[in-house]
């Protein structure tokens, strides 16, 4: 009996916390059929928000994938002074609120800050523009790839890579043919988590983007703006689209994931 009680509790808990709210959004979105949804999503502001979201997310994922794999190799394979500090720094984004991240970026890269001012003098605008939004997204999703890949690298050990070296493989051949296939599943998982996080980011983006409608507005900001203005149909449609994108990415990687050797 205890077994069933526990299952029931878990089910009810998740129902009220996750399934019901998300389900209701979908329900409200399609309450008047598919027509208004298409109309909401094809408005120029919505389309623009889509584009901005995708571009920011893809950049953030690309940067975090390269950085994450490199960092994971550094942490799993090398011993050096300051490694513990580096390890702690990687987790910092989890501890800092996204809003604080946004403010911190403005303090360094804003127009009236030394670094930001210097860059602006050279024609590069960070804050209230794409670079700042990408930086903010990279910051908040920084640990996801590292933390997905690092334990797998540790568990895999160095011997396969060393064996490849003794068989004549260079460092880059070993990385491509041994290391990457070895961490493939974990890397895919990390990338999906990172993508989901990047698509859904709100707090840091809200601060650094300046919420300029039709310029720096992402989908999450679009949802918020429409909701504040009582345009619920637009807000719900965009929210559902966001959720669908996330779910699709998740399913895609499950389908695309090649069979593992073991």
């Amino acid at each position: 009996m205890a077994k069933y009680a526990l299952r029931l509790f878990a089910l009810v808990y998740l129902l009220f916390l996750l399934a019901l709210p998300v389900g209701l959004i979908v329900w409200r979105t399609f309450g008047d059929g598919i027509g208004p949804v298409i109309e909401s999503l094809s408005s120029p502001e919505a389309v623009h928000a889509f584009k901005i979201t995708i571009v920011v997310a893809l950049w953030a994922v690309a940067i975090n994938t390269v950085f994450g794999v490199g960092m994971a190799i550094l942490l799993a394979r090398r011993r050096f002074p300051g490694k513990r500090l580096l390890n702690a720094l990687v987790d910092l984004p989890l501890a800092v609120s996204p809003v604080v991240v946004g403010l911190a970026l403005i303090l360094v890269y804003g127009r009236y800050a030394p670094v930001g001012g210097w860059l602006e003098g050279h024609g590069i605008q960070i804050i209230f523009s794409m670079p700042g939004m990408i930086m903010a997204t990279v910051f908040v999703s920084l640990p996801l790839v590292v933390r997905a890949v690092e334990p797998v690298l540790v568990e895999m050990g160095e011997e396969q890579e060393q064996a490849a070296h003794t068989l004549g493989a260079s460092a880059s051949q070993t990385f491509r043919r041994i290391t990457i296939p070895g961490i493939r599943a974990a890397l895919a998982y990390g990338v999906v988590l990172c993508l989901a996080r990047a698509l859904g980011e709100y707090g840091a983006i809200a601060v650094v983007s300046g919420r300029l409608v039709g310029q720096t507005q992402t989908l999450t900001l679009f949802v918020d703006e429409r909701f504040q203005n009582f345009e619920e149909q637009d807000a719900f449609a965009a929210a559902t689209a966001l959720a669908l994108i996330a779910i699709t990415t998740l399913l895609l990687t499950k389908l695309l994931r090649p069979k593992d050797g073991d």
């Binding site: 396969q160 060393q162 064996a163 003794t166 068989l167 260079s170 043919r177 070895g182 050797g261 073991d262």
Partner: protein
């Protein structure tokens, strides 16, 4: 000489692992690096392979100074204790790896891999993944993979250490036969003196980062330089402050010239051989005799027995270690 190691020193942190080690490995030989764990034998093997860089000293492979050469340029085959199988590749692709890196033609690769899989008797598993093989099969695959690139020297790091006793014995005999077929200069690391004696032409005993002795198995067994080597290579016991092999002890029920007198404490029959445990001047000692000899003596616990080393016994003062 296929491999010459000269004055190699290696320290991990503050712990010296190799201290001024020099060894020679003859071309075409099968050499065992034998010693207790932590003695530096695996590190020495990894230095030869280029997987570790020595703090000082040189490594020469077939006349070329390889000390600073990256492992991928040394053309050595290396077999790891835990196989280091490429988990995401089939057995065929594992063995083909080195050849693909060398960009050999596809038909040649296919032919060579087939030959090697046959050589190590796993040709029927070519399309399986390593996880679908037993430990012994995985290790044979690793050996085929190392041999595929026709290495100048083959290095094996405790190759049978992770296998169970029965498979280990089979693979030992098989490795010896394989070496007689392939003739590649081979160095293997082991802490099992029986394995070293059974398989190797040459044994290098390493302990505490120092070469204790090097020579043929028989030389080392019969003429150990130190009490340590004598103890490590086989069973020893002590009579009158001297180390002696238990099978080099003569027992008699009548007094022996230069003999000592002991009291039998226990008799253990192990099939063909019999262990006679004795107390000699209050110290424990034992002799290994044949069943025939035991029956003639007809000993029982409590009996008095006269003991001395046989005329050709190798004796070493016990105090030195």
């Amino acid at each position: 000489m296929a491999i010459e190691v000269r004055n190699v020193t290696k320290t991990f942190g503050v712990t010296p692992v190799l201290r001024d080690v020099s060894i020679d490995v003859a071309s075409g030989s099968l050499t065992a690096l034998l010693g207790p764990s932590g003695g530096g034998k695996s590190t020495l093997l990894r230095v030869i392979a280029g997987l570790e860089v020595p703090d000082s000293g040189t490594v020469t492979i077939n006349g070329i100074d390889a000390t600073r050469l990256a492992p991928q340029r040394r053309n050595v085959g290396f077999v790891f204790q835990h196989y280091a199988a490429f988990k995401h590749m089939t057995v065929h692709d594992n063995v083909a790896f080195g050849l693909k890196i060398r960009k050999r033609p596809k038909t040649e690769i296919r032919k060579r891999v087939a030959e090697l899989l046959e050589l190590v008797h796993i040709e029927q598993f070519a399309d399986r993944y390593p996880a679908q093989l037993s430990g012994g099969q995985r290790q044979r695959m690793a050996l085929a993979r190392a041999l595929a690139v026709e290495p100048q020297v083959l290095l094996l790091d405790e190759p049978f250490g992770a296998l169970d006793a029965q498979v280990r014995k089979e693979l030992r005999a098989w490795l010896r036969r394989l070496h007689d077929e392939v003739h590649v200069t081979t160095v293997f690391v082991t802490h099992d003196q029986e394995e070293a004696i059974e398989v190797a032409d040459e044994i290098v005993v390493l302990a505490d980062g120092i070469v204790e002795q090097a020579g043929s198995p028989q030389e080392i067994y019969d003429n150990p330089d130190s009490p340590f080597v004598m103890r490590f290579l086989g069973p020893v016991t002590e009579i009158d402050g001297r180390l002696v092999r238990p099978h080099d002890i003569e027992l008699s029920d009548t007094p022996l010239p230069d003999g000592a007198t002991a009291t039998v404490t226990r008799i253990v029959r192990l099939g063909f051989e019999v262990r006679v445990e004795m107390s000699l001047d209050g110290r424990h000692t034992w002799a290994q005799i044949t069943r025939g000899a035991a029956e003639r003596l007809n000993l029982a616990p409590g009996d008095t027995v006269h003991v001395r080393p046989t005329a050709d016994a190798r004796l070493i003062p016990a105090g030195a270690s």
